[in-house]
């Protein structure tokens, strides 16, 4: 675990990915910190709408990403966990052991 962390910080610093969009109604992004994500996939299993997937990125690391078909409707597809007025139960964030995934709203 320590070696992995060392490698991440010294050899291959990660990046922050913002998946989603901005339109007239606001900013709707899922933010992934690749430094904190080790590709464990717990968030993928927790998501009731199958929004997430684990990919191998351009720098050959396993990391979580949003499925292509959901890039443009994040606001609506995440609505189950983040409805307009009822209390929120954001399952992917709860499932992640390192806080790698978050929402901009």
């Amino acid at each position: 675990m320590f070696c992995w962390l060392l490698r991440k910080l010294v050899v291959m610093p990660g990046y922050i990915a913002n998946y989603g969009y901005t339109d007239g109604s606001g900013d709707w992004y899922i933010v992934v910190d690749s430094d904190k994500c080790d590709g464990c996939g717990k968030c993928v299993e927790a998501c009731p709408q199958n929004v997430l997937e684990i990919i191998v990125d351009d720098y050959d690391d396993k990391v979580v990403a949003i499925r292509k078909e959901h890039h443009k409707n994040i606001k609506y597809v995440c609505a189950q966990c983040k409805p307009v007025s009822s209390p929120r139960d954001v399952r992917c964030q709860k499932a992640c052991p390192s806080g790698a995934i978050s929402h901009s709203w």
């Binding site: 109604s25 609505a79 007025s85």
Partner: protein, 254 residues
């Protein structure tokens, strides 16, 4: 008591006159570039239709995108409030209202007395609203009524991915080039809009009865597609474009 409601929409302006809780006149005109002038004209037409004089109207409430710009309105109300009130008058069993206008779509959850409990909007984006339908009809080089007609004859699915009316227009053009039947494209267009509006509506609790209003509710292909996506029976009142204006008129009488 006689009251009037004026719905200043992005595409059309509607006026409804209510006398002692009964609808006595309805009138509509394209908004054009001078909404105040058009609103005045539309109200005058409704007045004539009702066989009354302008001074008989006790109160005028405005609603719609341009509701704050009408100088002769006594008060303005939000579209959401007006929709819920108008719908409650026409069909009191309705608890979920979907209003698809020219440039905006709304999902409203209301109670038995027509009060708004919750709502979600798809605003400031032409996708998932009437402007999308018009944009696509241009790309298909068909009138909107013709596009609706052939859409019912579709036999195959055609893919339309775009969540933007501008991108969808280019997609449709390339689909036509690959010789896909226009009927299938038309069907896919309606399906795409319904899918988008349904996702928006699912942000609020969906309870029967569900109604569809707004100008786009006249589009039978959209109604079909919405039923499929939401998985419920959908009621469309007579003259669905006027529900907002009706609601405003009723609120003026309250």
């Amino acid at each position: 008591m006689i009251t009037a409601g004026i719905d200043v929409g992005a595409k059309t302006i509607k006026a409804v006159i209510v006398k002692d809780n009964k609808i006595v006149a309805r009138s509509m005109n394209p908004t054009g570039f001078e909404p105040v002038v058009t609103a005045e004209k539309t109200l005058e037409e409704a007045v004539k239709q009702a066989g009354i004089s302008r001074n008989d109207i006790k109160k005028i409430f405005s609603t719609g995108a341009g509701r704050k710009s009408i100088p002769f309105a006594d008060h303005n109300v939000t579209e959401v409030t007006a929709d819920a009130k108008g719908m409650n008058y026409l069909l009191p069993s309705v608890r979920t209202i979907v209003d698809i206008g020219a440039e905006e779509a709304r999902g409203i959850s209301s109670d038995a007395s027509g009060r708004v409990l919750d709502f979600s909007k798809n605003d400031k984006c032409a996708a998932g609203a009437g402007a999308f339908v018009e944009s696509m009809s241009r790309a298909l080089e068909l009138t909107v009524p013709l596009m609706i007609e052939i859409s019912h004859k579709s036999t195959k699915e055609a893919p339309i991915n775009a969540t933007c009316a501008v991108f969808a227009e280019s997609e449709v053009v390339s689909l036509i080039h690959t010789k896909i039947d226009k009927a299938d494209i038309a069907h896919a267009v309606h399906d795409a809009i319904a899918s988008r509006v349904s996702s928006m509506v699912r942000r609020i609790p969906i309870e029967k009865d569900v109604a569809l209003i707004g100008g786009v509710a006249n589009n039978t292909a959209i109604v079909e597609a919405m039923k499929k996506h939401l998985g419920v029976e959908i009621k469309v009142p007579e003259k669905p474009d006027y529900v907002s204006a009706l609601g405003a008129a009723l609120l003026a009488a309250a």
